[in-house]
Point group: C2
């Protein structure tokens, strides 16, 4: 029995159902049958619209990228009147808070390692939160706020933004994975952490 809905509409239905289930129960614990049941189709119908289960996840991955970008862009825009350093600080805060607010999206993007993910991070140049971070880093290097010359690096901005990214990812992923751990006061730790990185780059 063919439905009257458009193909793209059903695709959306599938993604919506999958998002709810994935974010609620985790990717591994959601079966195609569960998704199909939620939208009132047979399990195999999904394969008309998606190659396999991972391709559904890939759509959510892109969604996650956009949400991530939105949060970083907001921090970027709302600090147009501030110094580059304050802007960087606010973007770092936005990064960590995104992870804490959307832990499942965060895990999809940064801790579930799929083959295509690297490509997306590296090459997708629209709506890329990384490039936004990178811009601020370049600004800071250009005005000599970060003294990276001592290291005689060929592309210092790469090392700076990678070290920032790594530090942010470290704290974010650990706060998500081990919430029970003795982190001290979480907000203070986040402030301390970001302050430490930026200070370390300044000298």
């Amino acid at each position: 029995m063919r439905r009257k809905k458009e193909s793209s509409e059903i695709k959306k239905e599938i993604i919506n159902a999958a998002r709810h289930l994935f974010l609620e129960e985790g990717y591994q614990n959601v079966s195609m049958r569960k998704i199909a049941n939620k939208i009132g189709y047979s399990p195999t119908a999904i394969y008309i619209y998606f190659k396999n289960k991972e391709e559904i996840l890939l759509n959510l991955l892109e969604e996650g990228y956009n949400l991530f970008y939105d949060d970083l862009k907001l921090a970027y825009d709302s600090s147009l009147n501030n110094s580059y350093e304050v802007r960087l600080f606010k973007m770092c805060e936005a990064y960590i808070h995104f992870g804490l607010k959307q832990p499942d999206y965060y895990n999809i993007i940064f801790t579930m390692n799929m083959e295509m993910n690297t490509l997306l991070i590296t090459h997708s140049n629209r709506y890329n939160g990384f490039l936004l971070l990178n811009e601020v880093v370049k600004d800071l290097i250009q005005e000599n706020a970060f003294v990276v010359n001592n290291y005689e690096l060929e592309q210092p901005d790469i090392y700076v933004s990678n070290t920032i990214w790594a530090s942010l990812h470290g704290l974010t992923s650990l706060l998500i994975a081990f919430p029970q751990f003795n982190w001290g006061e979480q907000d203070r730790l986040i402030q301390f952490h970001i302050q430490t990185i930026i200070q370390g780059l300044k000298i």
Copy 2:
């Protein structure tokens, strides 16, 4: 047909087979049937020695902890004649290198989040690499190398060691998960990263 082997010996056989398979193909891609096949038993025989698949992983988790501790202890001991700061640097290096040398063990410990894992990290006080890192941090705070007083924190050592751990974990896990990414020159990045954190804590 009962075997003449001791119960503990078969347990070891299972763990050995599981380790090889897990580290080669990843936990999710190894089935009980594969493990059983490798040691020449029926799949259900494993359940005599282990409650379930996760309990086998838990044994490897402990193995991983010990290997991790060994590497950090070695860095600690081999820097007895150096300053605390150099010691911290070498231990940070040892941390990251452990992750790169044993990515699967590293993932079992720090990125596969199991419920029991947090408990292990926090409470097991023997052979705990964290406590070793924490000691050096305390030494550095005590000799005022780290100026943490500005922050008016109740337990500054917790914030310092957590920020160090988070930064190290961030770089390590990202290098493992996205080897294709444009990291620059990996060894230089590692040096730069550690230097940045330590410098950031000093001021």
